[in-house]
Symmetry: C2
Subunit: 471 residues, 2 copies
């Protein structure tokens, strides 16, 4: 067999896989549950464990970064090559809560291998997917004979992702100089399924608000007054109902103005994914589909902005009847955003649209709670093409594309750092994120290591950002 660079990587992985899995298991034994104050020391221990392991891997810099909450880990390994791109890998070392009593078959913080699966809390989300970069990087060096990576490599592994990243934005702004990068790689996502390797090209953003509607000063008698005064519960309903037109498009003027539309190429590629609507409905626990006319289910959840009523309440909600015009009613609305849409503009459009629809006699308060930006990397972006090539070499298969319908801090990271976001992940829907019996497929974990081993060289060759920093 010819000794291709890829076969060198594979041989290297064959030699080191057992030790890699043993190390990962050590890390998984640390119950770094960020949501549990009693586990704060475990989260710190997890950060210190990772920083030490990254130094052992060869990173000349690997630090525990303090925040106002739980610590993150930062590591850096300059390429030494003039003009090499700088890449920041993002992940997290904290995990969701887990206890055997929740219904796990095994102890969640005692990793167990069954066949080709490694069971433990954090196996897929996200320790396994952070950790594959360590072996990938060593394979990259071994296969290329380099003493430093082909790109300027940085890692940022936060410790509060499962708690909503409350201190992440502040950390990014504080350390923006050291985090500067030409591209951000998020290793905290997955693929379509075990047999369909994919690369995610973007996430939806989100902005949400609470709308408080005040009518009469107290609940009033619907016999004495009903039919002659405005009812804030009706106003709430009319607002929520008016969010969509008959085609289930969001009916707020200007809402779609800046949307980057799906290209024909993306729609063709999405359509090639083996999508089974029956199965998707079972996962969704829904009994039917409904959405914007002219788009498939996948397009609706990945590439189209939405308006959703997350909660509504007002008036009498107890048993029996109470015939009142309620004093107040409330809506929690959220809007998933796609690339092109700006959070601030959408908030403004929503606010103006709501305010224009409040009848005389009803007072409204609109408070926007939080927001995450959308992100999207075009199919022809050179860093995305490098990712696809690296994944293709690892899997020996055509790589298709997905997007992520949810929202996360990744896009904010891109925004603060002014860099495109890419996704490199090998988790699959059956991995049980946030659920019992979380696992990672060891075969896929190895594909992640391998893709990581190929990625940095490919990027160094093909991704030469104009503003590349040569540090």
């Amino acid at each position: 067999m010819t000794k291709t660079p890829d076969s060198v990587v594979r041989s290297y992985l064959d030699q080191h896989q057992a030790a890699f899995l043993a190390d990962l298991a050590d890390w998984l034994r640390i119950p770094s549950v960020s949501a549990d104050p009693d586990r704060a020391q475990d989260v710190r221990r997890s950060a210190e464990w990772l920083a030490a392991k990254l130094r052992e891997t060869g990173f000349p810099v690997a630090e525990v970064w303090e925040t106002d909450g739980l610590p993150a880990v930062f590591a850096e390994w300059p390429s030494g090559e003039p003009g090499a791109p700088t890449v920041l890998v993002y992940g997290h070392h904290d995990v969701q809560p887990a206890a055997k009593e929740d219904g796990w078959d095994t102890e969640p913080f005692e990793p167990v291998t069954v066949g080709d699966r490694l069971y433990a809390r954090g196996a897929a989300d996200d320790k396994g997917q952070v950790f594959f970069h360590t072996l990938g990087l060593r394979a990259h060096l071994a296969a290329t004979g380099r003493t430093a990576p082909a790109v300027n490599l940085k890692l940022l592994v936060e410790g509060e992702e499962e708690s909503g990243s409350p201190n992440f934005g502040a950390l990014l702004r504080r350390e923006a100089d050291r985090l500067a990068a030409d591209a951000v790689f998020v290793s905290d996502t997955g693929m379509w399924n075990e047999t369909t390797p994919t690369v995610c090209t973007g996430m939806r953003g989100i902005t949400d608000c609470q709308v408080d509607l005040y009518g009469p000063d107290s609940d009033i008698h619907s016999g004495s007054f009903g039919g002659a005064v405005p009812n804030p519960a009706t106003v709430a309903a009319e607002l929520a109902a008016a969010l969509h037109d008959a085609e289930r498009r969001v009916d707020i003027p200007g809402f779609y103005d800046d949307v980057i539309e799906l290209t024909e190429r993306e729609r063709e590629l999405f359509a090639r994914l083996p999508f089974d609507e029956e199965q998707w409905l079972r996962v969704a626990k829904s009994h039917g589909t409904q959405g914007e006319a002219g788009y498939s289910t996948l397009e609706r959840i990945w590439a189209r902005p939405t308006a959703e009523v997350n909660g509504v309440w007002g008036g009498y909600t107890g048993p029996g009847r109470k015939t009142i015009v309620p004093a107040e009613a409330h809506l929690k609305l959220s809007f998933r955003l796609v690339a092109g849409q700006r959070v601030e503009k959408i908030q403004q459009l929503v606010r103006e649209w709501i305010e224009a629809r409040i009848p005389a006699g009803v007072r409204s308060e609109i408070v926007f709670k939080g927001a995450s930006r959308p992100c999207l990397t075009p199919l022809d972006h050179p860093a995305l093409q490098s990712t696809v090539r690296a994944m293709g070499r690892a899997f020996g298969q055509e790589i298709l594309f997905t997007r992520e319908g949810g929202s996360g801090p990744a896009a904010d990271l891109a925004e603060v750092l002014g860099a495109p976001v890419l996704f490199l992940g090998i988790s699959v829907p059956s991995d049980g994120w946030h659920s019992i019996n979380e696992k990672v497929e060891i075969g896929l974990l190895r594909k992640g290591v391998e893709a990581s081993a190929y990625l940095w060289g490919d990027l160094a060759e093909h991704f030469r950002p104009a503003a590349a920093d040569a540090n």
Copy 2:
């Protein structure tokens, strides 16, 4: 001064008013709070007190009627005149809860006279208005020289009105034969105000339902699924919003089909009431009016059917955000009905209308909770004209007309007995029903006595129902 029949009545009242007020005060001292189980013996004592007082007044029959709850009082005094109409007076002897700590200036069950006002719980609602018939009847006999009333007079005074009359329907059906009447007079309402005596000609009915909407089997992630599955909170909002068209008419096909429209005469008479919208809004605690196009505020609350959202809930209602597609959402809807509309038909229309609007993937349950029929007595009805003449003689003023926007057992009483409902009341909005410092205006109470004294003779002369029972 000529000794007219009316001056005889007034002299009689002058002589007996003090004793009448002293008796009423005795009754008001009995805290017949039907909602308080600890007061059950007081409600019984109130019933026994009234039955004894009615026997003392001259009623040959005055009985405490047991129910599955608290007792009612029935009394009967046949006219002895062949062909005399039979009239049933309805009122209640139970009262709303009251305690000095609620903010009363005086002890609620220790009647106090201040100027021309008698303060006590039940002074207006409804003991004062039941009791004025005792003196009225004696004045009627004194002025006419009769030994029995000119009509066959029956009284039914229930003991659970303030608790929703849970056993009243069963009592009516059980005693339908003894309650048979040609007209029902409800003495449990009021007039426009102190200087504008009015007669109420009808009440709105009501039917209400709860609509339960079920979408996904649990709350699901709005990022992963939002925009592609139906949201039951949105369905609830769309139902509630679709209840009204842009003119604020109820937009359910057939809803208005059987409505007895206001006559031009009624509209003219309503328009002559001294209605002050600013003041009405203060009482309503509302900050604006809104209602069916083409109708005044009074017409909207008295003579037009409505659809009202009494409550709505679904999804996340706590602090912060939870970006979900909710599993379920719920609506409490009520419909005020006007004469002509039938409860059963409206329930059927509402049910069909809702069911036709539920999208695939959402399941609905619709449960109608309760209902009261509407009632209306036309302006030219002879019993209504007798009422107006009796009130006119008492007040020496033109009598205008109102209706009642609320709903109550009166219309059901009319339905079970197959008799028209009329209203004879002298309470005014300032009397503080269900509120602190309830009072009755002694001057108006006397007008009620006087109207009662004139009514039976006028009815005997002018109201000769075809099916009159001569017992």
